[in-house]
């Protein structure tokens, strides 16, 4: 098994762990964390599979660089929405 394939396998493990967390955990913050772990797994699969023949492939690397920045922005938006949701719940007197 090449190093690249080992990275891809680790990526699969992270992806599945994140997916389990996304389905099984109820707290929204944990869901956002799980979603991020899932994303990191997908990035690792892309980069790992891209270099499984031993030669680094710049195309998936550029895709992953794009993906990381987008996932940061998506996380920030998700956190803002969670805060907004918590504010609304507190405003109506419901349990947050």
């Amino acid at each position: 098994m090449s190093t690249g394939l080992l990275y891809a396998m680790t990526g699969v493990l992270l992806f599945v762990l994140g997916m389990g967390g996304l389905f099984l955990r109820r707290a929204l913050m944990t869901k956002v964390l799980a979603f991020n772990i899932q994303g990191s797994g997908a990035f690792l699969v892309l980069v790992g599979l891209g270099q499984r023949s031993g030669i680094p492939d710049p195309v998936p690397q550029a895709m992953v660089l794009t993906g990381i920045v987008v996932s940061v922005a998506a996380t920030a938006l998700a956190l803002a929405l969670i805060r907004r949701l918590a504010d609304n719940d507190m405003g109506t007197g419901d349990e947050p």
Binding site: F15, M19, G50, D57, T66, A80
Partner: protein, 223 residues
């Protein structure tokens, strides 16, 4: 019933993981050798680093849309609106303030270097913008930078500048052959222009994701 559902979810995730792992072991070699394709077109890209060439020339579409997505995420955050953070989250800390003051010029220098280095080694607009945004977050935590509620006109222009310059360059390519098709002799200059404006806009957008929101402290405490 709930435990059964949880068990099924765990089993489904495990099954998916095993299936993915198996398919990766069985994956045939790629029919197209992309590293070779990129390497053979490097002389037309205008830069000397393959990742930068892919990011801003061969796959410019992705980067263009990515900048749009980032701007959209910030707009979404501003539209959702946030309430002030708890007042105690940003306390006066002399060590932190001194550290933030000392580190910010270094961060600006590192960002400038990363932007320049992107043409021939790992680096580029995104890395430079992340360093600048990190410095802005540090300044905010140290209480040296106020947060925004509604960006003023100048800030709005700076936030959109990266996307606008990128769109302008992409559209002017239409006159010369196609969207995002740079003439090889101009490619280096155009990429530097795009990367510089992207650095400013991305740094502000990334910092804005943290800074957006009303300031909870009384006005006289703000610097």
């Amino acid at each position: 019933m709930n435990a059964l559902l949880r068990g099924c979810t765990v089993l489904a995730c495990l099954g998916l993981g095993l299936g993915l792992a198996w398919s990766m072991l069985e994956l045939p070699p790629a029919p197209i050798q992309m590293p070779g394709l990129v390497a053979s077109h490097m002389d037309q890209s205008g830069v000397d680093h393959p990742v930068t060439a892919v990011l801003l020339n061969f796959r410019g579409y992705d980067t263009l849309l990515e900048v749009a997505v980032l701007l959209l995420a910030l707009l979404g955050m501003l539209a959702a609106g946030t309430t002030p953070l708890h007042a105690s989250s940003f306390k006066e800390a002399p060590m932190l303030t001194a550290l933030a003051r000392a580190l910010t010029p270094i961060a600006v220098l590192v960002a400038g270097y990363l932007l320049w280095a992107g043409a021939f080694k790992p680096g580029g607009a995104f890395q430079a913008a992340a360093v600048l945004a990190g410095a802005a977050v540090l300044l905010r935590i140290a209480g040296l930078l106020p947060s925004w509620t509604t960006p003023a006109d100048g800030l709005r222009l700076a936030l959109a500048a990266g996307l606008l310059v990128f769109l302008g360059v992409a559209a002017s390519g239409l006159a010369l052959g196609g969207l995002l098709a740079y003439p090889p002799e101009w490619a280096g200059t155009l990429i530097l222009l795009i990367e510089t404006s992207l650095t400013v806009s991305l740094a502000l957008i990334l910092a804005g994701l943290f800074l957006a929101g009303p300031d909870s402290r009384p006005p006289e405490e703000q610097s």
